[in-house]
């Protein structure tokens, strides 16, 4: 309702000013003229000569407009409730850029200046994971979208909505000679069409409005994904026709798809009857409600939950959280409920990467597998992020979070008093084993406690000690680099406290996603923490400047193992497999000689920074100093030299 009011207000505002601005238009067309906004008279192409500079200009030539098409485009974007637009400046969207900063007053959307389009999309990726809705990205035609492509792929694999508006000039006769031809493309979206959900190339302002609203709706319908809209340069820059009948269509988001009622009832029957059911969740909790539903379901069933941490699905210290020994729990299950699993097959198989690759099921043949995922509603063929085919017994093609309420109701109906009593006993045992696991984890953390470089367990514990009493949010992945230590040691219980991983494992996601998530957290007054891998930051470190420039509070703690360590291990594997040893595995995989001074790098971008710190005794005080800076409202960085994993 609020959005509807906002839309109508903006529409009125636009139409009111369009009347005034329309007087400057050259051509008074009919209603269909809006389909192709008028261009300059063809005979008035610019001629750079002395006569043109000294003679009186022709009265007939209109050189200004106060109502460019881009103003209306910004009204449309505003109507969608988009608060920010991330962009590295590019001439193909100069009209839109100017409309945002002047016509819209650089507010809703506010421009976030980025140094690379990969950062722009990464910021939008992280923002959406906290805020639950997309922010916009303006990207520059050919080269900008090419830069953005990897980050778009990550968001696609991670099922995260990103709203991309791409500048481009379609009409070849309107392109400036030279660079603009290099920066124009016939079918721009083709570059990324394999890993976005929808795209369009509107050829009129009404078309833009309709497609823009449609794109938002599509992006927000589970499975949520990036969408792309091409904003033609001429459409942006030409005046709005005086009599153009422009309106912004009403946005009504689609209710997420729920599971078939008979299938949900069957799932409930299997779960209630199971002796050792396990719930596995990956990208299940899209919103805080999803987390609450999952807690309710697990408690009803007294079933252990294995959180694969694609989202913040389940409180880490809940007695039914058994993620720490997920493989064993899964292997002894008789019913497994998979909620939005990225890889159900991989969840129930072990895999061995030796000279001959092999796999083995973890399960007894009688184990029943139930899947609820919106991924069954949308799949593409080229990119293989859909993983191996899982042989499940009950596949419910639906959004898991939207289906959980009906599943909970069905479980309640199926539970008898006797069964409840039995489940309570199971719950007590699970609570004890959770407690045992917690103590085991603390003991594991003591190994290499005083090591230098600093252990990832020590780093996690030092950090937790200083943020646990704040309203904190961890805005970075914890695997594989951090060996999951934060999830094992910290008390996560709110949806915004964790944002999952990159989706497509494209390195370079971490830093911009952290900045985007911190941007979203800023409005809520939360304390954002980013455990930042060194290799990831070096892809596009300019995002640190973006954080400083926009004064986005963010505590960056470097997990600086001075290597692309996953690749070090791969090279070790190949060297040994080929019987040549690992002596040279560092070539092409390590980031040393010279060591990167991340404190200086960050200081150069305007951050409060210190390090490198390799003595664990110095870590706590350094974190404390950085926290003080973040609490003053600025980003800070501590460079910590760490163990590899």
């Amino acid at each position: 309702m609020a959005r509807s009011k906002q839309t109508s207000f903006d529409r009125r505002d636009f139409l009111k000013t369009a009347v005034a601005g329309g007087a400057a238009s050259l051509v008074a067309g009919n209603a269909s003229a809006a389909a192709l906004p008028p261009g300059p008279p063809r005979g008035l192409a610019p001629v750079m000569c002395r006569a043109a500079e000294v003679e009186d200009p022709s009265d007939a030539e209109v050189l200004t407009t106060e109502r460019p098409g881009s103003d209306f485009m910004v009204d449309v974007i505003k109507s969608l409730g988009i608060a920010y637009v991330a962009a590295n400046p590019g001439s193909s969207f100069r009209g839109l850029h100017e409309s945002v900063i002047n016509y819209a007053g650089n507010h809703s959307p506010e421009l976030i200046t980025c140094c690379h389009e990969e950062s722009s999309v990464g910021i939008a990726h992280g923002y959406a994971k906290i805020e639950g809705k997309p922010m916009a990205v303006f990207a520059h035609s050919t080269v900008g979208l090419q830069h953005a492509a990897m980050a778009i792929f990550n968001a696609y694999c991670d099922r995260v909505p990103v709203y991309i508006v791409l500048g481009n000039t379609i009409d070849a006769t309107m392109r400036r000679p030279g660079v603009e031809w290099d920066h124009s493309v016939q079918d721009a979206a083709a570059m990324v069409r394999d890993y976005i959900k929808w795209d369009d190339l509107p050829i009129s302002l009404p078309h833009f409005a309709e497609s823009a609203v449609r794109a938002y709706k599509i992006a927000m319908t589970p499975p949520t994904m990036p969408v792309l809209l091409v904003a033609d340069g001429e459409l942006q820059e030409r005046p709005v026709p005086a009599d153009a009948e422009l309106r912004i269509p009403k946005l009504t988001l689609a209710a997420p798809p729920q599971g078939d009622s008979a299938a949900v009832a069957e799932a409930a029957r299997l779960l209630v009857a199971a002796e050792s059911p396990v719930i596995v969740a990956d990208r299940a909790a899209r919103t805080p409600a999803g987390l609450a539903y999952l807690v309710e379901l697990a408690e009803l069933l007294q079933a252990p939950v294995v959180d694969q941490a694609g989202r913040m699905n389940f409180p880490t210290r809940h007695p039914l959280n058994h993620s720490g020994h997920g493989r064993i729990i899964i292997s002894i299950a008789d019913v497994i409920l998979g909620l939005e699993l990225t890889d159900f097959w991989g969840t129930v198989h072990s895999y061995r990467d030796q000279l001959t690759r092999s796999s083995q099921s973890l399960l007894d043949r009688s184990t029943k597998l139930i899947s609820i995922t919106a991924n069954d509603l949308y799949i593409k063929g080229n990119y293989q992020d859909f993983q191996r085919y899982p042989e499940v017994d009950l596949a419910i093609a639906a959004d898991a979070e939207a289906t959980l309420p009906s599943l909970i109701d069905a479980v309640k109906r199926a539970l008898t008093a006797d069964r409840k009593q039995m489940l309570e006993q199971r719950g007590k045992l699970l609570a004890r084993s959770h407690q045992d696991l917690s103590e085991e984890t603390r003991t594991e953390a003591t190994y290499a406690w005083d090591a230098s470089p600093i252990s990832t367990a020590r780093l996690s514990a030092e950090l937790w000690g200083q943020i646990k009493d704040k309203d904190w949010s961890l805005v970075s992945p914890v695997a594989p680099g951090m060996s999951n230590w934060p999830l094992r040691l910290w008390a996560f219980d709110k949806h915004y406290q964790f944002i999952g991983g990159p989706g497509g494992y494209g390195v370079g996601y971490g830093a911009p996603a952290a900045v985007g998530a911190a941007l979203a957290n800023q409005r809520h007054g939360r304390f954002s923490v980013n455990i930042q891998c060194d290799g990831d930051l070096m892809y596009a470190p300019g995002v640190l400047w973006t954080a400083a420039h926009h004064r986005i509070p963010l505590l960056n703690i470097m997990h600086n193992n001075r290597a692309y360590h996953q690749e070090v291990m791969h090279l070790q594997r190949m060297g040994n497999r080929h019987n040549r040893g690992v002596d040279r595995a560092h070539l092409g995989t390590t980031i040393d000689h010279p060591n990167i001074d991340f404190a200086k790098l960050a200081q150069g971008m305007g951050l409060r920074a210190e390090g490198p710190i390799s003595d664990p005794k110095e870590l706590g005080p350094a974190i404390g100093r950085a926290i003080s800076a973040v609490e003053r409202g600025e980003p800070a960085l501590v460079d910590v030299v760490t163990q590899p994993r």
Binding site: E275, P480, D493
Partner: protein, 156 residues
Amino acid sequence: MFPGSEHSWRNQLRGFWLRGLPRMVPAIILVMLPWMASPARAVAQDVDSIPKADGPVHRDPQNGKRLYDRCGCYQCHGGQGQGSILTGPRIGPNPTGFSGFVRYIRQPGGEMPPYTSKIVSDAELTDIYAFLQSLPPPQSAKKIPLLISEPRAEKK
């Protein structure tokens, strides 16, 4: 040894989950593979060079540390053998028996890359083993303020 592999909770669950034990067997085998030095598995080219004795080995732990780094053991198991839940188990201090240690390195049953004697000799392995043996035991988690158990957060 895989931490928690003999933990009491599983025994309790076994009693409650009627089908638990038979199902646990393959899981435990999978998890324990890295440290199950089954003679039947050790049939590769280095089988003859595997030491038969399983007694304490005292060689040169300092050279062992150098070899541990050079051979890339730290890459998955950490600089002090502390391990990682995602890349390789804890292997020190108190490493598993020496024969199993060597057998697994030569012919790993799990994910670990194999090390033939061309890559690391038996003598070098004894030094690496000595290094792992020489690692000091950690202090108790109960004596580390940052690891002292906090009251469980209330459920949301």
